[in-house]
Amino acid sequence: MSPAPPTLRQACHDLSQPLTAARGSLELALRLDSHDPDRAEFLTDAVAALDRMAAMIERFRATLASPLQHEQ
């Protein structure tokens, strides 16, 4: 049996975590000089968070054989 599709609320909740991390890491990177080693780390973290988001979206899509459950 395939897992129950996430509710819209759950999907939004799950996506908000890596989205916050990606956004925050980019904000921090933009504050730094281009040769600051921390900048590269923040950018790497942002990309990792975006990769997590992409993976989540892919998982949500896979469960969308049936429409997303709408909460009552």
């Binding site: 909740h13 975590q17 991390a21 925050g24 890491s25 921090l28």
Partner: protein, 232 residues
């Protein structure tokens, strides 16, 4: 300023730690509600950033418990739950503010600064020792009217020393408040940073304000003889 962050999402917790450290705060991060409650109760933090969805004990329960033990501790809730009833619940339980994910780091920092300002009496916003002045709101330092540029960690160290002026503070106390609880206390990082600070706030000025107390640690304030002379 010392902040406890309770957030179970590892990447989010990492960016919060690093980001807040760049803003001069000493940051401790925990990933579950039990730990947040234990540390919040045991140590003196200036602010708690508390995620609502935590394993082992959710943020609302932690908040309700800590509010009874630490009524003055400012608490900022991090929530992915944008529902009005959740926000009302958090505020009714004693949260001072909340921010909904996804949020901008700049907005988070602004809310933290606002909460810390609210908690500080106006008189506490400027610390003064002899001719040395530190403004906690503007995050600026000057000695005898001359502006001094400090790195975030130097600022945090000086702020801690000035908050404890005329008191002896050990290296362990400094590490606990200026770095974080997991920092290796066996390193000489405190002495290194004290030297950086001395070169910026004491070099070229009299009296010297950062004093080494042999076998103990450090003390901020003019030497006893100079204080007596100034009082004459």
């Amino acid at each position: 300023m010392r902040i406890l962050v309770a957030e179970d999402d590892a990447s989010l917790a990492k960016f919060l730690r690093k980001g807040l450290e760049t803003e001069n705060y000493a940051v401790d991060v925990v990933g579950d509600g039990e730990e947040a409650q234990a540390l919040g109760e045991r140590y003196d933090f200036d602010l708690l950033v508390l995620d609502v969805n935590l394993p082992s004990r959710n943020g609302f329960d932690v908040l309700a418990h800590l509010r009874k033990k630490k009524p003055d501790l400012p608490v900022l809730l991090l929530t992915a739950q944008g529902r009005v009833e959740d926000r009302v619940r958090g505020l009714d339980l004693g949260a001072d503010d909340y921010i909904v994910k996804p949020f901008s780091f700049s907005e988070l920092c602004a809310r933290i600064r606002a909460l810390l300002r609210r908690g500080q009496r106006a008189a506490d916003s400027t610390l003064k020792v002899d001719s040395l002045e530190l403004n906690r709101i503007e995050r600026s330092v000057q000695r005898a009217g001359k502006a001094i540029e400090l790195t975030p960690k130097e600022f945090a160290l000086l702020e801690y020393l000035m908050l404890n002026q005329s008191r002896r503070v050990t290296r362990a106390m400094i590490i606990e408040h200026v770095w974080n609880l997991s920092f290796d206390t066996s390193t000489n990082v405190v002495d290194v940073y004290i030297n950086y600070l001395r070169s910026k706030v004491d070099e070229g000025f009299e009296p010297k304000l950062i004093r080494t107390i042999r076998g103990v640690g450090y003390q901020m304030g003019p030497p006893p003889d100079s204080a007596a002379a100034a009082g004459e």
